[in-house]
């Protein structure tokens, strides 16, 4: 068991590969509809974003008692939250998202997360990406498995992960292309030797192997030409910061119709234990500012194409309801998720938020989890990515479609 535990990140070895094969057979295949595919964009805020700052429960007096130093003021006060429904409000630096909410293209899900009690970043991130909550040996991710079930041709850019490390959610998916920055996806060979080195590396990496590095190398060489063509010359698009350039690049890939079905964007730096700030100074307001602007720019960029895109903003767990002794927050439990998209049934705050009174808190300190994240992912996979039955994505989880939150329209 102990050896297995560490191998949680192991590649799909014997047993896992076998399981994957069986899974593929059980999943059944949805036919690829005519026309461009639906796209899911997962934005993972690594380090556990403080959801109580993102979407503020401004009607809860307890919120202001627990967070004397870092609370976001009530709507109407200076730097106050931007009211959504009389109960919750957006952090003022997320103001660019208000238009999407008003256009009913943004849904907020409150008190969502994993039922597992862990407050370990890496453990919680793994569970949220494998969907196998409590099973540290699971090696493959829900998104990759969901995509595998779509019977479509392999494509160099079917799924991209903009991340320095390979996200577990897409691990094991043959078409996943992982790169921290799409712009880096070019061989720096020098002018004279470029033809020889390019063809040389292509041949060297054209080995038939289960080894991931070789596969990744081959995929990189295959995709780099296409990526360069699609992205064109480097130009900072308005609305995007240096740390959110990934959104601009993904928008270009979607518009270029190269078959992109899933994009995973990792954004780090949300682990705000100290001086996280309220609305003005501090790391959190700055990061929320970049996130809000990037999401709004992304939506504007895509225009009518946004109709076939769903963006899911998530994080491994929430943070303590009470601010800690150093003007920050520690690891908590339930959190908030955002769902954006042209066909999203938004303009609503979904999920059951019980409140922040001591008896309502998980273990007396955190927002509880009243919506299992797997219910959200199942709705996304079934209603957007047309997976016939998402229950196979989540071992030991009783999927009940009556629990659907309804952020996506039901098929007629």
């Amino acid at each position: 068991m102990n050896a297995l535990r560490l191998s949680r990140r192991g590649l799909l070895g014997g047993a896992a590969a076998l399981g994957a094969g069986l899974l593929g057979a059980r999943l059944g295949f949805a036919a690829e509809p005519n026309g461009p595919p639906p796209v899911v964009v997962c934005v993972f805020l690594r380090g556990a974003v403080d959801g109580l700052s993102m979407v503020v429960p401004h009607a809860e007096p307890a919120y202001y008692r627990l967070r004397r130093g870092i609370a976001v003021p009530r709507p109407g006060e200076p730097h106050g939250a931007i009211d959504l429904d009389g109960r919750f409000g957006l952090h003022p630096r997320l103001e660019p998202l208000k238009a999407a909410f008003d256009a009913k293209e943004l849904a907020v899900i409150q008190a969502v997360g994993s039922p597992h009690r862990t407050r370990s970043h890496f453990e919680a991130q793994d569970y949220m990406q494998t969907g196998a909550v409590g099973d540290p040996t699971a090696a493959r991710g829900w998104l990759g498995r969901c995509l595998s079930a779509r019977a479509v041709e392999s494509a160099a850019l079917r799924a991209v992960a903009l991340s320095s490390f390979s996200p577990v959610a897409l691990r094991g998916y043959r078409d996943a292309l992982v790169t921290e920055n799409l712009r880096d996806l070019r061989l720096s060979a020098g002018d004279d030797l470029e033809p020889v080195l390019t063809s040389g590396f292509r041949e060297l990496y054209a080995v038939d192997t289960s080894r991931l590095a070789e596969q990744a190398g081959r995929r990189a060489l295959e995709a780099s030409e296409l990526v360069r063509r699609v992205l064109g010359k480097r130009r900072r698009s308005p609305g995007y910061q240096r740390d959110t350039q990934a959104f601009a690049d993904v928008a270009k890939l979607i518009k270029a119709d190269v078959g992109l079905t899933a994009a995973w964007i990792d954004l780090g730096g949300w682990d705000t234990h100290r001086r996280q700030g309220s609305t003005d100074n501090g790391e959190l307001p700055r990061k929320l500012d970049h996130l809000g602007r990037a999401l709004a720019a992304f939506r504007a960029d895509l225009g009518p194409v946004f109709e076939r895109v769903v963006v899911l903003v998530m994080s491994e767990f929430g943070r303590t309801a009470r601010e800690n002794g150093t003007g920050g927050t520690d690891h908590g439990h339930g959190n908030v998720m955002l769902v954006l998209g042209g066909k999203v049934q938004g303009g609503r705050v979904l999920g059951d938020f019980p409140g922040l009174a001591p008896e309502q808190l998980h273990e007396g300190r955190d927002v509880p989890v009243t919506t299992d994240f797997r219910d959200v992912l199942a709705e996304l996979c079934e209603l957007h990515l047309q997976l016939p039955d998402a229950s196979v994505l989540f071992p030991r989880f009783e999927l009940d479609r009556r629990r659907r939150l309804g952020f996506l329209p039901q098929p007629i």
Binding site: S224, H273, R274
Partner: protein, 532 residues
């Protein structure tokens, strides 16, 4: 160093490696501890018989895993002395090379304690001029980037040139295990001191010493916010209280491991124990560890069933660290991490058991643990050889070593690590950089490796001076020399697929220099060289 010269003249070794490694690579050899070859009396005038195939394979393996790769001729040297003797020498800590000392000289300031560092930047009297943290930050900020680049360059220089290779490898391992993010706040002022005085001296010593050194070091106290954590205050307007960041990572990452069964109450109580472990401010005559009695929570606590009575002050933190270091869960956790690093991405149970037993039997002596790991058959197994993906750092250092390259004194190597995706000392999260292939085998990362190899081969890589005429001399029989160079570099046979492909590509070029450049680029960027 008479071996390489001797064999350069006889040509024996190069041929030997080429033909014999074919067998070593493909014929399965039973897993067993290394063959011990009695070192011959030297110097001598007769040529020894070439080392056995098995000994060459073993030597290559230890140099890939326990060092940052072989330098020219080193595989043969270690094969002759016997890998076990090399391991013994490394555990004992050989004298450092004068070349390293000389090359490090311009970067010495990188390891200076913060006060000395600031003295150097701002001149005497800065304590008066910069009494607040804000002022200090403003004044020192212009020096930050260069300082970090210098520190990274110094570490890389050590990894490339040091004779104490195992110590360098272990320093990298522990710096990653006890990761701090150098770019956070003032951490960068302390990072060099952290490596030089908290990590390196204990890299092969007692784990409990290492643990205590990191726990008390300002780099860690600032990175995981413990410096500001204080007992909960309920009265009056004075705010302040616990920050459990360090406490949680201490249990989860540094010692017990995530699955060891501790509770949230344990985390909270550990945080209470470490209240008061802080960093002295400038106007306290400081920038060093300080125990603040007034912010320490003096009430009694219980952690993992062990009681810590009221009023033990600083001593209770030290006692807790000793307790944690002795826990079997800690032994298992560290054993797994070490076997993952040194043996395989899926740590073999026999290795974990051997390492864990050695840890518990030696009161956490890291050298004994390394002996146990290298004494376990799984370390030498065929399946373990040339199997693990090199990290970007291992790639850069091993490429430089293979070519006999010398850091050129510039700070360009630091930038190279950034382009390879793992800038030294700059991983933001406390878990450190990942250590298994599924986590970092990314398309972007692999292309970055090929680009690095191309730049190195074509002479566009800054930061290293390569003695090309020694590494791979030009001349009429370049093809044959490329083959020999490739055999030695990759441990493959002359007729391997890779060497055939490289020869074919190289033949498309006319100029000798270009052919050499392309050959080196393709070989260093080849799938085989990404493995260790």
């Amino acid at each position: 160093m008479w071996w390489p010269r001797l064999f350069a003249t006889t040509g024996l070794i190069a041929l030997g490696a080429c033909s014999s490694s074919h067998v070593a690579m493909h014929a399965p050899t039973p897993a067993r501890p290394p063959s011990v070859i009695e070192p011959a009396a030297r110097p001598k005038t007769v040529v020894d018989p070439p080392p056995t195939i098995a000994a060459i394979g073993e030597a290559r393996h230890v140099l890939n895993r326990l060092a940052f790769g072989p330098r020219p001729g080193e595989v043969e040297r270690v094969a002759r002395m016997g890998p076990q003797r090399w391991i013994d020498e490394q555990l004992a800590g050989p004298a450092e090379s004068p070349l390293l000392e000389a090359t490090l000289q311009p970067h010495r300031s990188a390891f200076a304690p913060p006060v000395q560092l600031i003295d150097e930047w701002l001149g005497d009297g800065w304590e008066e001029a910069t009494r607040t943290s804000r002022a200090l930050r403003r004044e020192t900020r212009p020096y930050f980037d260069e300082h970090l680049a210098r520190l990274a360059t110094a570490e890389l220089t050590r990894d490339i040139l040091s004779r104490r290779q195992l110590e360098a490898v272990m320093t990298d391992f522990w710096a990653n295990h006890f990761n701090v993010f150098a770019v956070k706040g003032f951490v960068r002022l302390f990072e060099g001191d952290y490596l030089e005085r908290a990590i390196r001296p204990h890299a092969l010593g007692k784990f409990s010493d290492l643990l205590l050194a990191t726990a008390r070091h300002p780099a860690m106290l600032l990175y995981l916010d413990n410096a500001e954590s204080r007992k909960q205050v309920r009265r009056g307007r004075r705010r302040g209280g616990l920050n459990e960041n360090y406490a949680r990572e201490l249990l989860e990452l540094h010692t017990l491991g995530v699955d060891a069964g501790y509770t949230q109450a344990d985390v909270t109580n550990v945080a209470r124990i470490f209240t008061g472990w802080s960093v002295a401010r400038v106007n306290e005559g400081g920038l060093d560890f300080v125990f603040r009695r007034d912010t320490h929570d003096r009430r009694g606590k219980t952690v993992l069933g062990e009681s810590f009575p009221a009023g033990e002050d600083e001593a209770e933190g030290v006692r807790l660290l000793e307790l944690l270091a002795r826990k079997p869960a800690t032994a298992r956790h560290l054993a797994r991490r070490l076997c993952l690093r040194f043996v395989a991405d899926e740590p073999p149970p026999s290795c974990v058991a051997a390492a864990s037993d050695a840890y518990l039997g030696s009161d956490g002596d890291i050298a004994q643990v390394m002996r146990a790991i290298t004494g376990d058959p799984s370390f030498w197994a065929d399946s373990a050889r040339a199997a693990k993906l090199k990290t970007p750092l291992e790639l850069l250092a091993s490429a430089a070593r293979a070519l006999g390259a010398q850091p050129d004194g510039s700070l360009a190597l630091a930038t190279t690590m950034e382009r390879l995706g793992e800038p030294l000392l700059q991983e933001q999260v406390p878990t450190g950089y990942p250590d298994s292939e599924p986590e970092w085998a990314s398309a972007g990362g692999m292309l970055a490796r090929m680009s690095f190899a191309s730049e190195l081969g074509t002479g566009r890589l800054q930061g290293l001076t390569v003695p090309w005429e020694e590494a791979l001399p030009l001349g009429a029989d370049l093809d044959a020399r490329v083959t020999r160079f490739g055999c030695e570099l990759l441990g493959v046979s002359a007729d391997s697929r890779t060497l055939k492909l490289v020869r074919e590509q190289v033949r498309r070029l006319d100029a000798e220099e270009q052919r050499r450049a392309a050959a080196v680029a393709l070989l260093i960027g080849s799938p085989e060289f990404q493995r260790q």
